[in-house]
Subunit: 338 residues, 2 copies
Amino acid sequence: MKIAIDAMGGGSTPHPIVEGVVQAAGLVQEGTEILLVGQKAIIEKNLQSRFMPRGLPISVVHAPEVVAMDETPAIALRKKRDSSIMVAVDLVKTGRADAIVSAGNTGAIMAAALVELGRLEGVSRPAIASFFPTERDTAVVLDVGANASCKALHLYQFGVMGSTYASYILRRRRPKVGLLSIGEESSKGNEPTILAHQMLSQSSLNFVGNIEGRDILRGNVDVVVCEGFVGNVMLKFAESIDGLLTAQLKRYVMARLRYRLGTHLLMPALLAFRRELDYAEYGGAPLLGVNGACIICHGGSSARAIRNAIAVAQQMVKADVNSGIRRQLQENGEMSNE
Amino acid sequence: MKIAIDAMGGGSTPHPIVEGVVQAAGLVQEGTEILLVGQKAIIEKNLQSRFMPRGLPISVVHAPEVVAMDETPAIALRKKRDSSIMVAVDLVKTGRADAIVSAGNTGAIMAAALVELGRLEGVSRPAIASFFPTERDTAVVLDVGANASCKALHLYQFGVMGSTYASYILRRRRPKVGLLSIGEESSKGNEPTILAHQMLSQSSLNFVGNIEGRDILRGNVDVVVCEGFVGNVMLKFAESIDGLLTAQLKRYVMARLRYRLGTHLLMPALLAFRRELDYAEYGGAPLLGVNGACIICHGGSSARAIRNAIAVAQQMVKADVNSGIRRQLQENGEMSNE
């Protein structure tokens, strides 16, 4: 298996990305190869300064251009055919790689994957799926940003893709799928969710009905279906909780010795809570529904995040999640053609 | 000033509500009167068992019926004219009270206020405004549930109402208004937000542009404008963070003595964090944009929440927030008529 990694990530400092690759050495299975895509001279210099783990064949594929973080996806696609994103996607398109991992311009990666790889048979709109921590197990939330507005059919398909992902990657048997809305009754919500409720009810999925914002962290479902606008707002909201807790504790820590001591003793638990809420921890989010495995990481991803993203990419290819999605959509065929 | 309080709150146990009224005695200004609306015999029995504070004239207004929490608002409105909600709203409509506080069926309160009191001049859609804790000061988020889907004009008007509320109640000078979206650029979002961005930019408000999910808790703005679907999901999501933290700490506390000790020492700070995230703490959310002050509380509101809601109701009437909203809308007149 070959995993193409956009080594530039929107900037010109591949340090955390290369470091993440090195860290991933212990995670990857035999036979896996890493293709680092980007400016060859910079990447090789970076590689030389590191202790390279054995058993992880790394090769460098040259791509002279870089898509900046603020560039318009359409322009990046048309004018920067030799960017690390485009070259990495092309490696998958031409069968020279099985998966892409990128921490670059999200819009550009999505657009490149969509246009170059195309959609899976039966999928109207690919979606970005993110893991969320819960009181019980990890949940999959989708879409978290690929589609600002969605129709009922899209939401329904997110349910299918999310369910497949949860069962293949998180190993849940008959994953519980919930539709995010503003009331438990099927009549609550907006037009797309009310209609999607009907479609999901008639599907072969283990659909538990509408859920509310509070059900996500409680771990009441394995898969949360929502439009990209809501999912993206919630994801970024969740990432900022840590800051509120830290600010709160700081105020207290300053005030009294007991709090200083308490914080010190509790620090590992507090750090674990922060880690739970840290998107990077989960190593990027797959763009489900495209022909190929495409893992999107945060702009400023840490080496740890890149390492985890590589693990997710490997799992997706190995478990052949895409075949599962195709099969599930076929099983619920009539609905997809509505 | 007279504040009508729905003493039944969707159930038949007015205990926390009556207790909240008693607690509010120290908060209300001279001349304020409380009208407890509901089943007279039950309320009076409840009052008799309590130590009644001096200086808070309480009278009971009989309303024989109760709107259950799961009743359809339309039916409640048509068939239960003698419910505590309808009677309380009628007190305001007929000028016998200045504000309503209710912890009953939210849909029924909204419908009753909308139909009986009517909208403020120039307001297309009333919105529920909720306080959110932030790393800096409290922020106002609206809409958190009155309107699942919104047009640009509605979002723009939420900005006007939220800004007025923040300046009158939170005493912010030129409150910073942010439009919740999925990217900072004005072109990011869905159709209503992109259009609302233009309208808000042209208004007299201190509009800072699009904000993202992470900006809310960071306290980057005073007012967060969003459609009810997103606001409601986020509000309920925020309420469940506490559970995740508690579950996380429990796992650690069980494991080692140091964590047990640390948690013990830090408990006041952790409780403060929980309190910050607790909607009830802020004492209900006003339905802005109706002709009258209408404060909506959570179903299972505590006495503390009711007490705070009474304080908010009093502030709204005293500061005459509604005149401020009317004036602000007039100032931006042309936009409202688009």
